[in-house]
């Protein structure tokens, strides 16, 4: 039977992708970030997951406001690298597992989650940055992927509680799959940041570290956060953190925390949290 073997929460700041493409990971301002992911990559190499379910948001590459889905799931054989305005990054396409995606989709829809099912989907920085940080990609990616896109950019957004419940439903969906697959699930985005108005650049390390504490110790408390509360404390764009609740909701009650990091050099509280089941 398929099983979730680990969960990772990771920010997906787009400038990280550029640093990787330019090979500038050792720049003094960036080194602390990249060093934190080295043991995570080693851990994933040992874990050898077959599938990575990546919960992320599309910032205008494959999705626009003409019809922006609340929840979408990729069900393609492969996913192209999207162009979100600054060209396609030099990465290979990601292999999908359409059979597994359709199994998840069917389970989720019958479990009363209204998923938009995407048979063609290009992925952008929200998806690619965490994948790039955690996995090698040459000559090809070592995992198949299932993108799960969440609307966190055009209100009304799904609630934190809804995102948590989606995670629980994803867990049920994985557990009911008869194939022997090892699955890791990513929750991406955040942490604190604001990219509009005079409060552009707002970050809140205290809020962020408390969020990381509670995600491990008492995630139910986080499911009660309103978008208003998150925006007031952590910035308008910090609502992305509800996607970390999807990751956490897919894990058991007390997984083992294996990695944690926090670094806030510019305009985002860059968080990292990893659990092993």
């Amino acid at each position: 039977m398929a099983k979730i073997v680990g969960g990772i929460g990771s920010s997906h700041v787009p400038s990280i992708g550029k640093v990787i493409d330019m090979g500038e990971q050792d720049e003094p301002a960036w080194k602390p970030l990249f060093d934190a992911y080295v043991p995570v990559r080693g851990w994933l190499e040992d874990l050898k997951p077959d599938i990575a379910i990546v919960v992320y948001n599309d910032h205008g590459a494959s999705m626009f406001f003409d019809r922006y889905p609340t929840f979408a799931i990729g069900a393609a054989d492969s996913y192209a690298i999207g162009d979100e305005g600054w060209g396609r990054r030099p990465l290979p396409d990601l292999p999908g597992d359409a059979e597994f995606s359709w199994h998840l989709a069917e389970s989720l829809v019958y479990d009363e989650f209204d998923m938009t099912i995407c048979q063609e989907l290009a992925v952008e920085h929200g998806f690619l940055v965490p994948m790039n940080l955690c996995f090698p990609h040459e000559p090809s990616w070592p995992v198949s992927v299932v993108p799960v896109a969440v609307n966190v950019i055009q209100h009304p957004l799904p609630t934190a509680l809804r995102c948590w419940k989606l995670g629980q439903a994803i867990r049920r969906a994985v557990d009911s799959c008869p194939r022997d697959l090892k699955v890791v699930i990513f929750g991406t985005g955040g942490l604190s940041h604001q990219l509009n108005g005079t409060r552009f650049g707002h970050i809140n390390p205290e809020f962020d570290n408390r969020f990381l504490d509670l995600l491990a110790e008492d995630p139910m408390q986080l499911t009660e956060m309103t978008h208003q509360h998150i925006m007031e404390e952590a910035g308008a764009e910090a609502v992305e953190i509800i996607m970390w609740l999807t990751m956490r909701g897919a894990l058991s009650e007390n997984p083992q925390q294996v990695f944690r990091n926090y670094y806030a050099p510019m305009t985002t509280g860059i968080g990292l949290l990893a659990f092993e089941e």
Partner: protein
């Protein structure tokens, strides 16, 4: 049921991108989204006026873009930051340049407020 977005409690210095803002900004955001295609980026670079005309931007939107006034496009015209950022590849103005403008600061003033400004 908890109120997810409380319009009676505006958050200082913050725009929440809801339906009203999205409707207001639909044209400029659609225009900016077109920059995800390289042929459109090339068309804008080759002739900005013609490209803005093709998309039927309002006079105000065109003037803000001519002036590279991203604050205007976002605060006055309903532009979404993730869309407006896409214009930057052609105009040469990155996210932090836009952000400094939103804050009413110079680029240098803004960068001085950051923890490790090398991480840009």
């Amino acid at each position: 049921m908890a109120v997810q977005y409380d319009r009676s409690k505006p958050i200082p210095g913050t725009t929440v991108f809801d339906g009203a803002v999205s409707r207001k900004g639909y044209r400029i955001n659609r225009f900016a989204m077109s920059f995800t295609q390289p042929e459109n980026r090339a068309a804008f670079t080759a002739d900005e006026e013609a490209y803005m005309e093709k998309w039927g931007l309002s006079d105000q939107e065109r003037q803000f873009l001519r002036d590279r006034d991203y604050r205007g496009l976002i605060d006055e015209c309903g532009g979404n930051i993730y869309m407006i950022m896409k214009l930057g590849v052609c105009t040469g103005d990155g996210l932090y340049h836009i952000g400094a403008q939103l804050r009413g600061e110079s680029f240098e003033e803004f960068m001085a407020t950051r923890g490790a400004a090398g991480a840009r």
